[in-house]
Symmetry: C2
Subunit: 79 residues, 2 copies
């Protein structure tokens, strides 16, 4: 199965990468950009064939390694 | 409107971040991880209210700033 994980900084946590992108877009002439948040996307190829088990495993991966749950939130899609 | 951009290294381009994650998952006891690719996700809040125009603008942002199209591919979702 394939799984896709999105890891984003939680709302309220300062996102300097996103701010830098917003600033650079403004300098390039892109107006009307009100906010930018940048995060990570991790695509996993798993040997597991059961979607529920795969989701459970990937959630455990997020808790243990992929996300810093103090400041980051994550979401898991399995397909 | 909100737009979400995914930027991933193209297939065939070495992804050391993804490899590091795969290795770390193996060491943590997660078996059956056959491949990991890591990319960026960028969420934009736009003043634009027309979906087609927003998509066009964000595609231009990708070409000019958000993605290095030599080695990275991108996809744009507008909602």
């Amino acid at each position: 199965m394939k799984a896709r994980v999105h890891v984003m900084l939680k709302n309220g946590v300062l996102d300097p990468q996103g701010e830098a992108v917003r600033h650079a877009l403004g300098q390039l002439g892109f107006d009307g950009v009100e906010g930018v948040r940048q995060g990570k996307v991790i695509e996993l190829d798993l040997a597991e064939t059961d979607a529920d088990k795969a989701r459970e495993t990937v959630t455990a991966m997020c808790e243990k390694l992929l996300a810093n749950t103090v400041i980051e939130s994550y979401s898991v899609e399995v397909s």
